[in-house]
């Protein structure tokens, strides 16, 4: 998937750029602008017009510059990002060692039974799910993934049909991918790298939007789980047979 997108962006970029440049060379964009441009480009040597006004030569130059600027921008960012990421992850490590993740997990535990009615109380899946969600909330991506995989493994032990996802798994994935975030450290870090006046400014918006999208995820997952199209083929059989799922 990514391979195709990457290839597509580059191919379209170069081919379209060639076509656009050729078109602009044969039929120059609005003459009035071109005269000014001529003067401009001679005066401020090397300044290119916006991409859609470039002629073939300028287009080639522009594409060259674009390729190189990708490398340049990355290095500028990463140099300052090293310091900022070290700072944040350092602080987060202190928070983690102080047991902040466990504290959050305890806060969230009353919701578990409502969200995952199929997971029995005290089952190890509960703990793993709670820890994963808490780690996600604190933006601890590296810690969240192993906890999430552990949660999936535990949920699989409750799954009668090992190749089909259960309702609990779908709910866990929906909550996980709707990204409940309390403190978006990485984004604050990137904003600081670009010398933002207030790197933490979008925090309020993020909490608002992420709460909304998580609610949507929960509701939609619940509704879809009940729709006949996605219903578990063997769920009714199983409840009839053993009655331990109801």
């Amino acid at each position: 998937m990514l391979n195709k997108i990457w290839f597509g962006l580059l191919l379209i970029g170069i081919v379209y750029g060639f076509g656009r440049g050729a078109y602009n060379t044969i039929w120059p964009p609005t003459p009035a602008v071109t005269i000014n441009e001529q003067a401009d480009s001679e005066a401020s040597d090397g300044a290119l017009p916006p991409p859609s006004d470039r002629n073939l030569k300028q287009m080639g130059k522009g594409l060259n510059a674009a390729a190189l600027s990708a490398a340049e921008v990355t290095i500028t960012i990463c140099i300052s990002l090293i310091g900022i990421m070290a700072l944040w992850l350092g602080l987060l490590a202190v928070a983690r060692d102080a047991g902040l993740v466990d504290a959050l997990a305890r806060l969230l535990s009353p919701w578990m039974r409502w969200l995952f009615p199929d997971v029995p109380d005290g089952h190890p899946a509960q703990g793993a799910i709670l820890m994963n969600i808490s780690a996600n909330m604190l933006n601890l991506d590296n810690a969240a993934t192993p906890l999430g995989l552990k949660a999936m493994k535990e949920l699989q032990t409750l799954n009668p049909n090992k190749e089909t996802a259960t309702d609990a798994m779908a709910m866990f994935m929906a909550i996980n991918t709707s990204s409940v975030t309390l403190i978006p450290f990485t984004i604050i870090g990137y904003r600081a790298t670009f010398h933002s006046d207030n790197p933490a400014e979008p925090l309020f918006g993020i909490i608002l939007v992420t709460t909304f999208s998580t609610l949507v995820a929960i509701v939609v997952t619940r509704l879809l789980a009940r729709s006949p199209r996605f219903a578990l083929a063997n769920k009714s059989e199983q409840t009839d047979g053993t009655g331990d799922r109801s």
């Binding site: 656009r20 859609s52 674009a66 991918t177 670009f194 789980a225």
Partner: protein, 184 residues
């Protein structure tokens, strides 16, 4: 003070307050703070260095695509269509489409797109702030689903993808709306 000013004040103070909470908590729990910090900071160094190849790859493709004029032409047409249906005032949000499209696919790619937006428009512009909200409130859905389900060999994922994509779309739309409400 208006509500927006309170929010601004709160966000300015959010980081110092959080640091205070963490260190007080850690002191209470008698965590060797300095050592913990250094261990974590090393991890941060690795993260920042590890993303370089991904960032170069995605920025390279995006910059080439943009420099060809293709993106500008698409925006021109989409902007024209938006004006036709009376949404001309909101055409600026078209610059967020690349972010909305890449985020569910790849975290590294979306980071590249966000960096591109910061680089072109600045982190404190309407676009910069709205991109931050979008970035913070969506996840790399396809990646997570394939890794998590792949790890336990689930083949039929039933309604998972549908539900996640609906939630993503809701998050993206909400990010734009909130962006306009708070910073538009």
């Amino acid at each position: 003070m208006t509500i927006l000013e309170y929010i601004d004040l709160f966000s300015q103070w959010s980081v110092p307050l959080m640091i205070l909470t963490i260190i007080l908590w850690a002191a209470y729990k008698r965590v060797p703070m300095y050592e913990s910090f250094v261990t974590g900071a090393k991890e941060g160094f690795d993260v920042a260095v590890m993303i370089i190849p991904y960032l170069v790859a995605i920025l390279f493709a995006i910059k080439i695509f943009e420099a060809s004029g293709a993106f500008e032409d698409i925006k021109l047409m989409a902007g024209w269509a938006m004006e036709r249906v009376g949404l001309g005032d909101y055409r600026e949000s078209l610059d967020l489409i690349p972010l909305a499209l890449t985020k569910p696919l790849t975290g590294g790619g979306a980071r590249g797109v966000m960096v591109e937006i910061f680089d072109t428009h600045g982190p404190d512009s309407f676009l910069g702030k709205t991109a931050s909200i979008m970035m913070g409130s969506t996840e790399t859905t396809f990646y997570i689903l394939s890794v998590y389900y792949g790890s336990i060999q689930i083949k039929k994922i039933r309604h998972t993808l549908h539900a996640c994509l609906v939630a993503d779309a809701a998050g993206i739309a909400a990010a734009v709306v909130v962006g306009y409400l708070l910073y538009g």
